[in-house]
């Protein structure tokens, strides 16, 4: 009983993994993607290999995306969104609106599904909210995501004001994470790993650059993370345990003055940097509430969808499952595993029908 069709909302790392794994198991899968390409944020990130692979897993997004495009059992609906939802587990009906390919022309259609997997992902913290860091005001203050894109597209990083090679670079950790003053009392998990890998990448591209990472606590992920940190220290990347309070851009030269603590003397000083990189954290999507209301699923105090317990893929609505970062911050590997776990839950539900 129950149609062996599954609708996945969101075609990022988690959604794609759910789609491929379910399709391999013989399910007919629809992927609803609001953008015009699959892969989510990760396809815009840069490979962070220096002289060897640094295991950032970004290449995975490209490979998985392709697998999803070509799988005969996966139908991808680009530029589409869910309009309404009804039915019960095993027999849902979704109305979606999708672009027909022509400019701004939409059409609505109905999809049937036995189960629905929500994998809508996250959005980056809007760095402009931290006014004191001057993102949006000073061109040489960028987010780590801008840096990722620069490496992905141009393969290099230059100062936006004058195109010069940046020599003194600062990373600010926990921008939009671990900060209750802006309503984010959680750690985003991914910023420490990506900042360390990006700083290694910069250092290997610009060997005479001077990189300082301002941080509270370094959060490890995966095997031998202390080895990664050690390799950063060996390359000459400096770690300073304090978060700067303000960035000033006094002159037109593009030089930034960062107000921070001198860890040796304990005095508040202003240090000059060519480039400031804000390690922005993960936030729930702006439209997370829309889907929550549509499906009747609970959100946690920050707006992420609430799993039943311990990273569970089960939402409070039977037949509606969660996968990936829409449920809380996860790195690429964890999103992948979480997606596969959603597959297990979907399979369990269908097995219980028969």
């Amino acid at each position: 009983m129950g149609s062996k069709e599954v609708v996945i909302i969101g075609g990022g790392i988690a959604g794609i993994n759910v789609a491929i794994t379910l399709a391999d198991a013989g399910f007919a899968v629809h992927v609803i993607e609001r953008e015009t390409q699959l892969g989510g944020h990760a396809v815009n990130f840069a490979c962070k290999a220096t002289e060897k692979c640094n295991k950032c897993l970004v290449c995975l997004a490209d490979e998985d995306t392709l697998k999803a495009y070509q799988h005969p059992k996966i139908k991808v609906w680009m530029g589409s969104k869910v309009v309404s939802f009804s039915g019960k587990p095993g027999d849902f009906e979704l109305r979606i609106s999708h672009t027909t390919g022509k400019e701004s022309s939409f059409e609505e259609l109905t999809l049937k599904a036995g189960a629905i997997v929500i994998a809508t992902g996250y959005t980056f913290f809007n760095a402009e909210e931290k006014k004191e860091y001057g993102y949006g005001k000073y061109k040489n203050v960028i987010t780590a995501i801008d840096l990722e894109r620069a490496f992905r597209v141009d393969g290099k990083i230059r100062r936006l004001t004058d195109g010069a090679i940046p020599k003194k670079i600062a990373f600010f950790q926990c921008v939009g994470s671990r900060d209750e003053s802006i309503g984010r009392g959680y750690c985003s998990k991914v910023c420490c790993p990506y900042a360390l890998r990006l700083s290694k990448l910069i250092k290997s591209e610009i060997p005479d650059s001077n990189i300082t990472i301002f941080y509270m606590d370094i959060q490890p992920t995966g095997k031998d993370f202390s080895g990664l940190r050690k390799s950063c220290e060996e390359m000459g990347i400096k770690f300073a345990r304090n978060l700067p309070s303000k960035v000033y851009g006094y002159s037109d030269s593009g030089v930034l003055h960062v107000k921070c603590l001198d860890n040796e003397t304990g005095e508040v000083v202003q240090r000059e940097f060519d480039l400031v990189v804000l390690s922005v954290g993960m936030s729930p999507r702006d439209d997370a509430k829309f889907l929550a209301d549509l499906f009747g699923i609970d959100q946690d105090e920050y707006g992420f969808y609430k799993g039943r317990d311990y990273f569970s893929n089960l939402s409070n609505v039977p037949g509606v499952f969660l996968a990936g970062t829409c449920q809380g911050p996860k790195d690429i590997g964890e999103s992948m595993v979480h997606g596969k776990a959603a597959v297990a839950e979907v399979t369990k539900m269908f097995a219980s029908f028969s």
Binding site: T21, L22, K67, Q219, G333, A344, T347
Partner: protein, 542 residues
């Protein structure tokens, strides 16, 4: 039999950006055409997935073999192969000439074009000697063996069983639950899980037993279990979820140190048994292992519990406070609000013993870098998570590797963190990497999802691109059997030759390069093809 005329076509696409500018595509096409190749230059709007141009090109020219030349081809290969399959052609009679780096490096247009043409001709020669690759159906066993009855093993077994597969769970000890059964806040949860597991008809639990022998490959392993029960089973996949061990760092500090320094695990026991604890308690984290978040979570929970129960003075020392787990930051905040003090150190603290107390000296990493001295009645230290004693033997039995620290080595984090180097064998939980319960359970379910997807259809279609052994040449020296990292080569006793099991082979080519009598070949990299290319390079020079 009529002789098939195989015609090779050249399909060029995807030259945007720099390669497009340095390469004279039209010149390249005309010089290839002069050599008798059928050439097609794709409009720049071509996107893999919409293969009309490609399919039309093949049909129109009645081609059976094709070279695709372009940029960044590696990840697009399957699209082209799939397209061939759809047209009823063998998906392996195609080869790819990746021109990106070679062409960009030239700079000069005529030189770049010449180079591109040379590379395309090389690829065409390659595909001309390519044999079609066959497809084989293999049936898969729908049973799974789970080793280890801790929470990782239990969750994997339950998910698999509820998803429709049969599970045999083998536990070394005489009870289920593992380490979590001894942790205060997980005790009840674990007990409930064990009860659910016992009730599930699809799960067979075998206690006080071990895996002693393994044969076969993914989809059809034959395993032998010994201990309380002796039996031989056939399973389609194996999940290793055995537990790790806690080891307290060694202290050369005299006899009385034992009562003053305990591990977090020992503290947990005292907390569960409601023992009264001393007034001044210090925690020391990150001393032996900086990579694990699991002890930080336990530390925060235990510190809060002590504070609330006994209103003791609680002080924590750590290198970094690891809050990158569910609710971590809020737990840390609650601890600080409850009056627990946190100090961070860069250099390892010094520990001295007084009569009935421990003295901890450390330099505070925060300004003003003072040397701080604390006296404590009890010092709780985070243990080192060590590989279990059984890991080495088990790894040998399964023909998988351990990492530098002695834990199970995943094949490649990029594929799925829980996959081993052998198809059909997975590592879940602490045997690969000790993690928090959220992550461990997610891994267990994720692995179950992967296995459900793999086994539930009962059979699989394989493209036989796996290594092939020429039985006439094989001298049974066992070199391939020993060097294969995927356990994919077996000995066929009757025929007296080594044989590759296609489902397990990952086409790495190690056996082909190691075989002393050149009896092994990869169908997509035959000796003839490689020698052909080499003689092109060397031949001219003589």
């Amino acid at each position: 039999m009529t002789k098939k005329i195989s015609k090779t076509g050249i399909f060029i696409y995807g030259f945007e950006g720099k390669p497009g500018k340095v390469l004279g595509l039209d010149e390249a096409c005309s010089s290839l055409g002069a050599l008798g190749f059928v050439c097609f230059k794709c409009p720049s709007s071509f996107f893999p997935g919409e293969m009309n141009d490609f399919e039309k090109f093949l049909k129109k020219n009645k081609l059976s073999k094709v070279v695709v030349a372009g940029c960044g081809l590696r990840i697009k290969e399957p699209v082209f192969r799939d397209s061939l399959k759809k047209m009823g052609l063998n998906p392996y009679l195609i080869t790819f000439a990746n021109l990106n780096e070679a062409v960009v490096a030239c700079g000069d247009k005529s030189e770049a074009t010449k180079k591109a043409v040379a590379l395309i001709i090389k690829a065409a020669k390659w595909v001309e000697t390519q044999e079609p690759v066959e497809i084989q159906k293999v049936s898969l066993k729908r049973e799974v063996l789970v080793l280890g009855g801790g929470i990782a093993g239990i969750e994997t077994a339950l998910t698999l069983a509820e998803g429709g597969l049969s599970v045999i769970l083998v536990e070394e000890k005489s009870h289920l639950g593992g380490g979590a059964a001894e942790v205060g806040n997980l005790k009840n949860w674990t007990r409930d899980k064990v009860e659910t597991l016992k009730k599930n008809e699809r799960i067979k639990v075998i206690l006080s037993s071990n895996l002693v022998d393994l044969r076969g490959n993914a989809g059809g392993f034959t395993v032998k279990i010994e201990g309380a029960q002796e039996l031989t089973l056939e399973v389609g996949a194996i999940v290793v979820a055995v537990g790790y061990e806690f080891v307290l760092p060694v202290w050369k500090l005299g006899e009385n140190s034992k009562s003053l320094i305990i591990g977090q695990k020992e503290l947990e026991k005292r907390l569960v048994s409601d023992e009264k604890l001393s007034q001044r308690i210090c925690f020391l984290a990150d001393l032996v292992d900086e990579d694990l978040k699991i002890s930080t979570r336990a530390l925060l929970r235990q510190a809060l519990l002590i504070k609330e129960k006994f209103s003791s003075d609680v002080i924590c020392f750590c290198k970094d406070l690891k809050v990158s787990f569910n609710g971590g930051e809020l737990l840390y905040k609650r601890a600080r609000e409850a009056g627990i003090l946190f100090f961070k150190y860069a250099e390892k603290p010094e520990i001295k013993f007084l009569n009935n107390a421990v003295e901890i000296l450390l330099i505070n990493e925060d300004y003003p870098h003072e040397e701080l001295v604390f006296e404590s009645d009890l010092l709780v230290v985070g243990e080192k998570m060590m590989p279990g004693k059984s890991f080495e033997g088990l790894a040998k039995l399964l023909s998988v590797d351990l990492d530098l620290n002695g834990f199970f080595q995943e094949d490649n984090v990029k594929i799925l963190p829980t996959k081993s180097s052998r198809k059909g064998i997975f590592f879940v939980g602490g045997c690969r990497l000790p993690q928090n319960i959220d992550e461990t359970l997610s891994e267990a379910r994720g692995t179950a999802g992967e296995i459900l997807s793999f086994l539930s259809k009962g059979e699989i279609e394989l493209d036989l691109t796996s290594a092939k052994i020429n039985s006439d040449r094989c001298i049974l020296c066992l070199t391939c059997v020993r060097t294969c990292p995927h356990g994919a080569i077996i000995i066929d006793q009757e025929e007296g030759t080594a044989k590759v099991v296609p489902i397990a082979c990952q086409s790495c080519g190690i056996c082909a390069s190691e075989c002393p009598v050149m009896a092994i070949e990869l169908p997509l990299y035959t000796n003839a093809q490689i020698i052909g290319q080499l003689s092109d390079v060397v031949g001219e020079a003589g």
